[in-house]
């Protein structure tokens, strides 16, 4: 995309108006084009404000009653997580081949990566992700993922973090976006006991039940 007028793509991308294949190509282009990343981040703020351009209404009271009644009937499945301290060896970032190949490759990468032992038994390692930079800190069984230089997800898209236990299918964990500077500080909810890999993919807003794209970040634990 180096020769094309990428500036025109940035606004269309931020508005969600590129065709899916174009959006994918532009996302790849942004990995190496800081100008477009900045442009998209700036346009994303405008897109976030656009809902206010719609005529403003009050949500109907009946809708409120229905939503709160449904919430009462369906308590969320999570309970407060305990955080027993346990040391974990760390992770690695990965390029973008198929998931199975990534998992195998990263098991090897994890062996190569050095582990930095911080205060209180915290293990930390800075890794190179396929897009941007990533650092995972594991304190006991709690994980914190910090990413930098990650392009903002396209409108209607969001980053989703997954926990994988061995060879089982990755389970959805948490959703996150990035700041206008491409950074995010993501607490990994719950307990990491038994988790072999932490993955990050780009998914439709609201998240997916199973990954629909190739992982951008893969962290191999243990």
């Amino acid at each position: 995309m180096a020769d094309r007028d990428c500036g025109n793509e940035a606004a269309a991308y931020a508005l969600g108006a590129l065709e899916p294949a174009e959006a994918e190509a532009f996302k790849r282009h942004m990995e190496t084009c800081a100008v477009c990343r900045d442009e998209v981040a700036a346009f994303a703020l405008v897109v976030d404000a656009l809902p206010l351009a719609a005529p403003q209404h009050q949500a109907p009271r009946a809708l409120r009653r229905r939503v709160l009644a449904a919430a009462r009937a369906q308590p969320p499945p999570h309970a407060a997580s305990t955080r027993p301290r346990r040391a974990w060896p760390l992770l690695a970032g990965a390029p973008r081949p198929a998931l199975a190949a990534l998992v195998v490759a990263l098991a090897a990468l994890a062996l190569v990566g050095g582990i930095e032992l911080g205060a209180g038994g915290t293990h930390r390692q800075v890794i190179r992700a396929s897009v941007g930079d990533a650092e995972l800190t594991v304190d006991g069984s709690h994980g914190q993922l910090i990413v930098e230089k990650l392009p903002a997800p396209a409108p209607g898209r969001i980053y989703e973090l997954w926990l994988q236990h061995g060879s089982s299918a990755p389970a959805p964990s948490t959703l996150f976006s990035v700041s206008s500077h491409g950074t995010a500080d993501v607490g990994v909810p719950g307990d990491l006991h038994g988790v072999s890999h932490i993955l990050v993919t780009d998914e439709p807003a609201g998240g997916s039940a199973t990954p629909t794209g190739k992982p951008l970040i893969v962290a191999a634990l243990g």
Binding site: A11, L15, E19, L50, A53, A71, A205
Partner: protein
């Protein structure tokens, strides 16, 4: 024996930031969820209504978005720091799904006889006053754009149309559509300035 009781007042959830409320939502706190709903349901419903053009569809989209937030509170991440952005992104995405599933393409038009005719925002609360004020600012910035730039932005964002679909609708080259989008978005960015993220 004299027994005394002490009333422990629950915290005023209305004073908590969204991110703190979401920590409670994660634990299943329905009162916190109600506060989050009250804060953001208005703009979420307005967006859904604008996009779907039908009240029933808009309510369905908003209900789905908030219940998704409730069920997967753990999956909301404060990294972006804006619950509203999260909710609105889900509403926008689902509204586009609804539009694309509607058999009649006319359903994606942004006009509807119901729009603006009912459900005016209640300005009695400070929150509503602020929302109306922010809305005037954004609407004003959009209205300042040349019509052809405003049109492509509205068709893309509120109509869910791709640039190629817009090009076909307006019978103009796709490159022209993208160029107008860029010009319009750049002007909006300048008009809203640093205020764009304050509106979040």
């Amino acid at each position: 024996m004299h027994l005394s009781t002490r009333l422990i007042r629950p915290p005023d959830l209305g004073l908590l930031a969204d991110e703190d409320l979401m920590a409670r939502v994660y634990e299943g706190d329905q009162r916190a969820f109600a506060v989050v709903f009250d804060r953001h349901a208005g703009v979420a419903f307005s967006l859904a209504y604008r996009m779907c053009g039908r009240r029933a569809l808009a309510e369905e989209v908003v209900q789905e978005a908030f219940l998704s937030l409730w069920r997967s509170g753990a999956r909301y991440e404060r990294a972006r720091g804006s619950v509203r952005s999260w909710v609105l992104a889900v509403v926008h995405h689902r509204a586009i799904d609804v539009l694309r599933h509607e058999s009649a393409r006319a359903g994606r038009d942004i006009h509807d006889e119901e729009l603006g005719a009912s459900l005016p925002a209640d300005e009695r609360t400070e929150l509503e006053v602020e929302r109306r004020s922010d809305a005037r600012l954004v609407r004003g910035a959009l209205d300042e754009l040349p019509a052809e730039q405003r049109q492509v932005i509205e068709l893309a964002y509120f109509g869910g149309f791709s640039h190629s679909e817009i090009a076909e609708l307006l019978a103009i080259p796709a490159g022209t559509v993208k160029g107008r989008m860029r010009l319009g978005m750049s002007k909006l960015r300048m008009a809203l300035g640093d205020g764009a993220d304050v509106l979040l």
